[in-house]
């Protein structure tokens, strides 16, 4: 199996400040890659650079197609769903409207309706709250909504930015269980950014360790899990 996403020499800037330097990374077809590192290591910026949300250089290919110069909207329409930091909830829309937004870009209405049922199978809690204003959902529910919105796009690759952020351990467990299910059943490849390294290592098969905007080491997640020195130095446990 080849790589569904490949980044070569990706750098990114906020104004004059360079946040990411020459990052190379790959996500295998059907695989889960984790991007780990401390606060400010450039994980979120790397994700943003991959879908052209920040000023960047280097090449990114998705499924063999060069997407380095495509607009964010086009990259999303090609099948890359980005679950952003802070969840990106449309607070004044209802839960249902948040999900139905995907109908705007999808031509296959019948399949989209089926995906909505599928999403409610994964997240029954969202179905209970279907007519509720999304801003009134709890943090965990909003995270579920963000993942559900991304799923509604029928993506082939999901970019997940800290899905555990600010949530209670039990909710985090539930969300990661569902992510694993999505990866296995719906065959969605994933690139996940996490501070909770232990959890991410369980889900991922490949790991990249980021420090001050550069990759310091990478390899199969078992390798990182079993290397105590590496774990202590970069992941703090």
């Amino acid at each position: 199996m080849g790589a569904i996403l490949e980044a070569k020499g990706v750098s990114a800037w906020y104004g004059m400040i360079q946040a990411v330097t020459e990052v190379d990374l790959q996500v295998e077809q059907g695989g889960v890659t984790a991007l780990l590192g401390a606060n400010g290591a450039g994980k979120t910026t790397t994700l943003r650079a991959l879908c052209n949300m920040v000023r960047r250089s280097g090449t990114t290919t998705f499924d063999g197609v060069d997407i380095s110069r495509r607009s964010t909207e086009d990259i999303v329409r090609m099948g890359v769903a980005h679950v952003p930091e802070g969840r990106g909830t449309f607070v004044a829309l209802t839960v249902e409207e948040n999900l139905k937004l995907a109908f705007h870009t999808r031509r296959d209405r019948a399949a989209a309706m089926r995906d909505m049922d599928l999403v409610f199978d994964y997240f029954p809690r969202l179905k209970e709250r279907i007519r509720q204003q999304a801003g009134t959902l709890s943090g965990g529910e909003q995270q579920m909504l963000a993942i559900a919105r991304a799923l509604m796009l029928a993506p082939r690759l999901m970019l997940l930015d800290e899905p555990s952020f600010g949530l209670a351990p039990l909710i985090v467990q539930e969300i990661f269980r569902i992510l694993r299910q999505i990866n296995r059943d719906a065959k969605v490849s994933m690139l996940i950014v996490e501070q909770n390294a232990a959890l991410a290592l369980e889900l991922a098969d490949q790991v990249y360790l980021l420090e001050t905007g550069s990759v310091v080491t990478s390899g199969p997640s078992d390798m990182v899990r079993n290397d105590e020195a590496l774990r202590k130095a970069y992941l703090g446990y």
């Binding site: 909207e73 990106g88 139905k100 705007h104 943090g139």
Partner: protein, 290 residues
């Protein structure tokens, strides 16, 4: 009593026009989070285009339809070429830009069509319905057009995915992009729709006040009052606000303060709403967990 009813009906008629202006303001606010101070002048300019078409012998309803279309395209182009480059500009720069548009349209209309007032035809005859001058067809027509427009907009925003995408783009642009929504086109669409609504308002006003480059100046203030009373983010509220402002203005004008102070009354309403009920009478306060 008869005088009272007459004033109410007249108020509803002018209220319908304020409602149209308010709808245009709400449209741009909902899709871009801005208040377009040039809304009235854009409407006036579109009305001149309608006048020129009719003057050239085009039948009324064809001129009406084409003017709405021209206004829509014009609004779209204004967003693409004037406002898009200012996407990341501070809000004050935008305000200055809107005021510039206001004076540009005003001056252009004066330059092309001169400042002398012109009569503008109404498609509705001033035919009396009740026999003693209470309600006529023209008044009903103006109210009817406004309600039809509100109906179309409500259906568009509530039941179409394009309308939903526009609302999403206004609320959270970066998140909307991540759902594949082409945000900058949604903003352009909002401007196009607002300009089309404005054109309709202009063509409804013109037969009542005569066509001249300054005809919308006062009406825009009432439009603001209507939009704020109804809740600036709520199309149905804006229309209801328009009727409320129209009727109150007429009643207060004829019984309490006299016609000269009517505009002052509208401004007082703007200040009052902002002070005591900033979300408007029918506006929804957005609840957000933090």
């Amino acid at each position: 009593m008869e005088f009272f009813i007459q004033q109410v009906v007249a108020g509803l008629t002018s209220g319908a026009i304020y409602a149209c202006v308010a709808l245009g303001l709400v449209m741009i606010f909902v899709s871009t989070d801005h208040i377009n101070f040039a809304q009235g002048e854009m409407a006036m300019f579109a009305t001149y285009i309608a006048w020129a078409l009719i003057d050239a012998g085009v039948p009324y309803w064809i001129a009406f339809g084409s003017t709405i279309l021209i206004a829509f395209v014009g609004g779209l182009l204004i967003q693409r070429f004037i406002l898009k480059p200012l996407e990341n500009a501070p809000v004050l720069a935008l305000v200055v830009c809107f005021i510039a548009l206001l004076s540009i349209f005003n001056a252009m209309a004066g330059m092309i069509w001169s400042y002398t007032i012109k009569p503008f035809p109404s498609p509705f005859p001033a035919l009396d319905l009740t026999g003693h001058g209470l309600v006529n067809v023209r008044q009903l027509g103006v109210v009817g057009v406004t309600l039809i427009m509100l109906g179309i907009l409500t259906v568009f925003f509530r039941y179409t995915t394009l309308g939903l995408a526009m609302r999403a783009a206004a609320q959270n642009a970066s998140s909307a992009r991540l759902m594949g929504v082409r945000v900058s086109w949604m903003l352009a669409l909002g401007w196009g729709l607002a300009a089309a609504i404005g054109a309709t308002a202009g063509m409804l006003v013109a037969p009542l006040v005569f066509l001249d480059p300054n005809m919308m100046t006062g009406i825009l203030v009432y439009g603001f009052a209507a939009a704020l009373v109804g809740g600036i983010a709520n199309p149905a509220g804006a229309v209801l606000g328009g009727f409320i402002v129209g009727v109150l203005e007429n009643l207060v004008g004829s019984y309490v303060i006299g016609n000269e102070l009517k505009l002052t009354f509208a401004l007082a309403m703007v200040v009052g709403v902002l002070l005591f009920k900033p979300a408007g009478l029918f506006g929804r306060v957005i609840v957000k967990r933090v």
